[in-house]
Amino acid sequence: MIRFSQVSKRYPNGHDALNDISFFLPKGSFTFLTGHSGAGKSTLLKLITLTELASRGQVLVSDKNLSKLGGNKIAAHRRTIGSVFQDHKLLEDRTVEDNVSLPLVVAGVDHSEIRRRVRAALDKVGLLNKAKRYPITLSGGEQQRVGIARAVVGRPKILLADEPTGNLDPALADEIMQLFLNFNQVDITVLIATHDYRQIDRFDCGILSLTNGRLQNHEGDNA
């Protein structure tokens, strides 16, 4: 599903964020991406969403070479990925349901179909009763669940999360992780960046560990 081959990323300021990274994540796998702050976790996720381009090496997602994509193909590629951010990235001036519907609106989905799928997604994260609320009136955990609903509403093949539990207390963090596990059971490839080792120990799954932009051990690596 996701394959990195000798990928390096150097930012324009000359900083090497990633160095010679190779790994493979099969379809339906559930993987944690760990490492200290500044290790390159966010950068790695950004290479998958094509927010950043690799400086060297190849990133293949669903057998597509990302460096070959341009224009509307980039947008189409992003629609196959659901992203969850540590700071939620919700629109404060839109209701919960309008936030969740955004990926479907940009995909040109029919209005009635949008309503149906938004309700289903909100139901999965347990926020159906708060569809008309504004994000600001929700707790941090609830806002993160809105972010997750938005990430899965478009039925992506890949679910990426960048420190989704970073700002949450342990009980809420467990809840959120459980949500990701549920989605993984419907054959979505899940990759979660976190430095919450408590979570990693709770689950039996693949781990990609980064230190200063280099991969340490690669469990579940077939590359």
């Binding site: 992203s83 990235k89 629109l91 040109g108």
Partner: protein, 306 residues
């Protein structure tokens, strides 16, 4: 899919209207600036084209009025014989004699001063030869011929009648050129105003744009609301411009009619024609879309992965 596309456009249209409504003062200012930028050259254009039409009507065949002396050192002058002599000049096509009596009669008919004229002890008008030059449209040659005729010993003065009309035409041409230049400047002004409005809109919605970009919104999708801002602002500006232009021309109507009566003319400025209204409306709206598009695209370059 077409239905969804259409619904999306309609939704963006009303969303954009709503956004403009949320900042009424800023939107009104933009609309007003655009309206002025359109109305100013348009009123000038309307005036100048009417004057141009008028001078074309008045043009007629060029003629020179040659007023004769009645007496020289060599004795009295025979106007008919003088006319014959003028005809020998190859530049003169035809000569027509207007006697002082004829002249006075014509004048009293046209001016309405019959009573005053009858009270005159004697006819004050000199004999007149109307010369039709063979110079055609050549204004310079006609004017030179008038000078040449004026220097003849039996001629008092020679006036090239169309001279002032040519001056008017030359002036109209200057103003016409000025209107074109003004229109371009105002067009550039509209471009800048829209660009500025759109840039402000982008700044206010930077986080929204970023999120839409992240969830897979295409360039077209991101661009659309801003193109609507450009189109709607320009359309509103044009509509207001028609109001301003119409009102200005209406206010000019009476004074111009009065002025025209003084010159015994039917001259009126009139209103801007429908094709011009439509053309300007469409062009300005497209200009707004273009300005918005250039501005958004300059911003979108930054969203491209690097």
């Amino acid at each position: 899919m077409v239905k969804v596309w259409f619904a999306r456009h309609l939704q963006v249209f009303f969303e954009t209207l709503g956004r403009l409504w949320q900042t009424p003062v800023a939107s009104m200012m933009t609309t007003l600036v655009i309206a002025i930028a359109i109305a100013l050259p348009l009123v000038l254009y309307q005036i100048v084209t009417s004057v141009d039409r008028l001078s074309a009507d008045w043009q007629g065949a060029p003629q020179i009025s040659v007023f004769l002396k009645t007496q020289t050192e060599n004795g009295p002058i025979d106007p008919i014989e003088s006319g014959q002599r003028l005809l020998q000049n190859p530049m003169v096509e035809d000569v027509q004699y207007v006697s002082p009596e004829q002249g006075l009669e014509e004048f009293s008919e046209m001016s309405g001063f019959q009573a005053a004229i009858e009270a005159l002890p004697e006819n004050p008008l000199p004999p007149l030869l109307i010369v039709f030059p063979a110079t055609g449209e050549d204004n310079m040659a006609s004017s030179q011929l008038a000078d040449q005729l004026a220097s003849l010993p039996f001629v008092d003065t020679a006036v090239y009648d169309q001279q002032w009309l040519y001056r008017l035409t030359a002036m109209v041409n200057v103003v016409k050129r000025a209107v074109v230049v003004l229109a371009f400047l105002m067009g550039a002004g509209i471009l800048l105003v829209i660009s500025n409005t759109v840039r402000l809109g982008i700044t206010n919605r930077a986080s929204e744009i970023e999120i839409i970009d992240q969830v897979g919104g295409t360039r077209t999708f991101i661009r659309r609301p801003f193109l609507y801002i450009g189109a709607i602002q320009c359309l509103l500006g044009t509509l207001l411009a028609w109001l301003v232009t119409g009102l200005t021309l209406y206010l000019l109507e009476n004074p111009v009619a009065e002025l025209a009566t003084l010159y015994q003319s039917q001259f009126s400025i009139g209103y801007v024609s429908v094709p011009v209204v439509l053309a300007v409306t469409v062009c300005v709206t497209l200009l707004g879309v273009l300005a918005a598009r250039i501005t958004v695209d300059r911003y979108l370059v930054k969203l491209r992965p690097s």
